[in-house]
Symmetry: C2
Subunit: 401 residues, 2 copies
């Protein structure tokens, strides 16, 4: 009884790195029982990527993306391992993988094979590229998708060279969209009683993300002008330097803009035709940002925040990554918690940001060591002790406590 | 009968700009009946922001974020307008707003007020900051959240100065998370029969997004090292220039890395201690990227892609925003469609990227002109023609056909 909205939902998680694990972490955080099935020979590679860990195979990044899950190690190339996998599927509501479609089919884990075992199963395949197109089955990592989907392209327009967002952003977003799609499918299954096959392609999902924002005047055919939202693509669309740090200021409507011009000692700009209306400021966004750049270096961040608060101009400070650890609002809302991990010691844990008044997950689980619950889960599947020992001896299953 | 997983779900949408509209567009694309309630005096400001439109109040960006919705204009400060709003709520499954909590309560649209009318209602409040913390009720635009949540902070670590991602990224992601939360709540309501209040705070959601990736060695307390995933924060983590364009190459494991060194004519690096294992390449990420930078300018993108394909080194080209309009894979999967908008003429439309084999939304609706369906929706709510005329005359409702 987890208490979250997904209480009672059983998820079989054949995913690695970030795109799948953030999907299933989201389901787990909201109450689902997630069984992470890992392969022999080390399991999820995220266990080893990224610096900073206290013991092997338990990187900080792995811990963050795999809390509230249990881990079982199965070698599905061995018949007994595959038998355990099929029993997991038979009792599950959801199966999620980020394995390439051709390989998934070879392993006998495609929708057709699994729905024959469990017609109520929701099968979610997270893929790099939709299976109907020519890039299908190509390997892809997050930067490949950032490069192809226009994410890097937004920077070329803004600062003259393509860049990646310094996060595995397309993995992360596609994983969140996958959890969303699974929620919709769970809802429909309550109505229809039948299962579902969902395909979530990273490239198409991110192309949709980027182009919803930047199709712009090319929404029209023929285009009414160039692609791109010029305001977002201005080189000075960034936190701006003050005398001692950075500040983000956003005077949008006339009242705010005119108050801003007064506050920075440029009242003459209130009648400057470039800045006299929302539309003119949008057209002259680059110039408008330049006025802000020139003004802000004259005072400290704290001085400006006080001035803009009085003038009712929306403004905010800037947090470095490290600043988030001590941000006072995050303290107020209990964003940071500390847990005693059974093997890794004291660790930080972020709160689930979304709250459901109807009840949230109560019990939390530590991110699992590789195969931590292998024995426990095999027992739940009805394997007797002798069979479990034989599976562990043959390598059809592995455990690490 | 939409045919999508959310067929039959009725959503009342009191949102503007991007964070709410992408939430409700997602619900609409997946089959929900979304009624966008707009205020007199122009409605959603996104109608006017961004360049490129064929008629007033119908910007390309508005069209992209508001397809498949109907629009009604109500002045809820007038009793008849509020009465219509309450009737909408009484018949709805979901209410979504991105109005600040204090203002929502003043308007009588907080969860307590609306659940009294409809106890099965799922009430989703998208807020800038969680209501339990000191920033609650502060105004926020996307750049404010990018500035505070560490998104801009990742760039400071990578390239020495904070920058925004040139998209309304935190609005967009929080909107997708809101649609996800609503899906989970719809699922639970099928089990329990009772409604729900959901709060989705932008700041906390994005802090969770950034820190899941960049908490790193500070996952441990005391920290085992600095925050941040060094590989993602390397200055040369970007599409790299070739002789004629850009290329993204990702040799991750030893086989790929050594094949890469051979392909670029640097076989001696295979035994360089900085690059001899995954772990050493992660620690020496900046140097590893430098080798790539130096090599890639020697040939064209097409030449490298052929070489890397033969050597089995993951690599991909680069798409500018405009390149997406002609990408061959996107053509294959029918990503781009053309619609005849009843008033705006021929427009481009992106396909819903996620596919549900159990059925997708069949009928599509054009993005609505302001108040396009005011009369139709008032009729559905049981107002007779005389009352509708009186509401239109008093300004309690407005229409534009």
């Amino acid at each position: 009884m987890s208490g979250g909205p997904l209480e009672g939902v059983k998820v079989i998680d054949l995913t690695t790195v970030v795109v799948g694990p953030i999907c299933t972490r989201t389901l787990a955080d909201q109450g689902a029982d997630v069984v992470k099935v890992e392969a022999p020979g080390g399991g999820d590679i995220l266990r080893y990527l990224a610096a900073g860990s206290r013991s092997p195979a338990m990187s900080g990044k792995f811990i963050n993306f795999n809390r509230n899950k249990r881990s079982i190690v199965l070698d599905i190339k061995q018949p007994e391992g595959m038998e355990a996998m099929k029993r997991l599927i038979a009792g599950a509501d959801v199966f999620v993988s980020n394995v390439r479609p051709a390989a998934l089919k070879r392993a006998g884990l495609d929708y057709e094979s699994l729905s024959a075992i469990n017609p109520r199963l929701i099968h979610c395949g997270i893929v790099a590229f939709g299976t109907d197109g020519r890039y299908a089955n190509r390997p892809a990592y997050d930067p490949v998708i950032q490069s192809l989907s226009g994410v890097a392209g937004t920077f070329q327009r803004a600062i003259g060279e393509p860049r990646f967002v310094p996060m595995v952003m397309t993995d992360h977003i596609t994983g969140l969209v996958s959890a969303q799609a699974i929620g919709f499918a769970l809802y429909r299954r309550e109505k229809t009683g039948v299962g579902e096959s969902i395909e979530v392609p990273m490239f198409e999902s991110m192309a949709s993300f980027v182009m919803s924002e930047h199709l712009g005047a090319a929404t029209f055919d023929p285009p009414e002008g160039p692609t791109g939202d010029g305001r977002l693509l201005s080189p000075d669309y960034r936190p701006l330097p003050t005398k001692d740090g950075y500040l983000t200021v956003r005077p949008n409507n006339n009242k705010q803009a005119f108050a801003f011009f007064d506050a920075v000692g440029r009242p003459e700009l209130k009648t400057d035709p470039r800045f006299e209306s929302s539309i003119s400021r949008t057209i002259n966004a680059a110039d408008y940002f330049k006025v802000q750049v020139e003004a802000l270096t004259q005072k400290t961040t704290a001085e400006w925040l006080e001035i803009f608060a009085k003038a009712d101009v929306p403004a905010a400070g800037y947090n470095s990554i490290d600043d988030l650890l001590t941000d006072p609002h995050l303290q107020d809302v209990g964003f940071w918690n500390f847990d005693e991990h059974p093997t890794e010691g004291r660790i930080r844990r972020t709160r689930t940001p979304v709250t459901f008044r109807g009840g949230m997950r109560q019990e939390t689980l530590p991110a699992p060591r590789l195969g931590k619950q292998t024995r426990e889960i095999l027992g739940e599947l009805g394997f007797d002790d002798a069979t479990i020992e034989s599976m562990l001896a043959s390598g059809a299953a592995e455990e690490n406590s």
